[in-house]
């Protein structure tokens, strides 16, 4: 068994997650299933869609992640055999594989063609966010970036509010602003947090807006909290229509030296999981170096990087003066 530099960092910083998943052996089996499914789905897309296989976000994620592992070549042909791995028995590792099973039942080709009902994808996405392995991943991230140090927090693309709920359950920030373009997600978040949508009184504000760059949204945010201490980005960048513009606007909301707490799945991370998640409406897929280039271009300076891609990109960046 060999360990990369990133594996060692994952062990160092993500020990709780690995322990809950049954240890390295069990987690590796789960990750191997993610790769195995990615190969299966890519083969299906190539067979059904031919040269159009990577012209949708699911195909693009599969192509980039399998290419990064040397499993396919530049033409998308399989060049490395991937054996069927043993099934993990640890409950958390097993349910990670179950998520892949459920996505597979929808049919990767059907998803890529946009033929799967949006409600079905939303149920699967909600299921993922409610699974135990995801909860541990979320909690471990919040521990690692020391969320308790930040009193005024803004979270873009809050989706159904589980991350905000996890923060508010463990920590008493003075102000927490969560926003999302989707009215259903805003309602779900507000309901979970016991708040009213678009009512920014008290310590929680859940706002429906596609971007924080608009003058009205910016004004609401500034009135609500003044300057923020931290932006929380947990698997968020790929939902943004224009990540660079959004990051620049978020930087303008931060106090000088405010932090950007980043966790982001990248193509070098678990390939099957990335493919599943981008199918829920992502607009982009990133390599870990793309993430860093983006944050740098938006005016942030890297303070500390914990992991590059295993289990996903994790770092703290500071708003440059």
């Amino acid at each position: 068994m060999s360990f990369s530099w990133d594996d060692v960092n994952a062990l160092r910083h993500y020990g709780k997650f690995i322990k809950a998943g049954g240890g390295i052996g069990e987690v590796r089996k789960a990750l191997a299933w993610s790769t195995w499914y990615a190969v299966k789905w890519w083969s299906e897309l190539k067979h059904e869609l031919g040269i159009d296989a990577d012209r949708n976000i699911l195909g693009k994620a599969l192509f980039m992640s399998l290419r990064a592992r040397g499993i396919i070549d530049d033409g998308g042909r399989l060049v490395k055999r991937v054996e069927t791995p043993p099934r993990p028995v640890n409950p958390y590792s097993a349910e990670f594989v179950e998520l892949h099973d459920s996505f597979d039942a929808l049919g990767a080709v059907e998803v890529a063609k946009g033929a799967v009902d949006r409600d079905k994808l939303r149920i699967l996405y909600s299921s993922m966010l409610a699974q135990g392995w995801y909860d541990i991943m979320r909690e471990t991230f919040l521990d690692l970036v020391e969320i308790g140090r930040y009193l005024n927090i803004v979270e873009p693309h809050c989706k159904e509010g589980q991350l905000a709920y996890a923060v508010l359950r463990r920590h008493q920030p003075e102000r927490y602003l969560a926003y999302d373009p989707d009215p259903d997600d805003v309602e779900a978040t507000a309901s979970l947090l016991g708040a009213s949508p678009n009512v920014c009184a008290g310590k929680v504000c859940v706002l429906q807006t596609p971007t924080i760059c608009g003058p009205a949204a910016r004004e609401v945010a500034s009135k609500f909290a003044g300057a923020f201490d931290a932006v929380l980005l947990f698997h968020t960048l790929y939902w943004m229509a224009d990540p660079l513009a959004e990051l620049r606007c978020l930087k303008a909301l931060l106090r000088p030296g405010g932090r950007l707490l980043v966790g982001q799945q990248v193509v070098e991370s678990t390939p099957g999981l990335l493919a599943v998640v981008v199918s829920f409406g992502a607009k982009h897929v990133f390599r870990w170096r793309d993430v860093e280039a983006l944050l740098d271009a938006a005016g942030f300076e890297k303070e500390r990087r914990y992991t590059r891609y295993s289990p996903y990109y994790i770092a703290v960046w500071r708003a440059a003066q």
């Binding site: 409950p91 097993a94 349910e95 179950e98 998520l99 099973d101 459920s102 039942a105 929808l106 009902d117 409600d119 079905k120 939303r122 149920i123 699967l124 909600s126 299921s127 966010l129 409610a130 699974q131 135990g132 909860d135 159904e160 509010g161 589980q162 709920y165 359950r169 259903d184 779900a188 309901s191 979970l192």
Partner: protein
């Protein structure tokens, strides 16, 4: 925070459920991973939804997979 306070807090976060049932078992069993199916059915039986499952319950109702009186 003490354990008792945490348990009380978690109980307060639970949402009471009206009488709910799974209407479309085929969709439910194919879309919701097996270990989570058990948690959903348990919540229906108990008549209250823990916060971690509230968004999923909302989606299941919106899609007509679950109906609540």
């Amino acid at each position: 925070m003490s354990l008792v306070k945490r348990v009380v807090g978690e109980m307060e976060g639970q949402r009471a459920l009206a009488d709910c049932e799974i209407k479309d078992f085929e969709a439910f069993s194919s879309l919701v991973p097996p270990s989570l199916q058990a948690a959903v059915l348990e919540a229906i039986r108990a008549g209250s939804v823990p916060p971690s499952l509230q968004p999923l319950f909302r989606r299941l109702r919106d899609a007509g997979v679950m109906v609540c009186l």
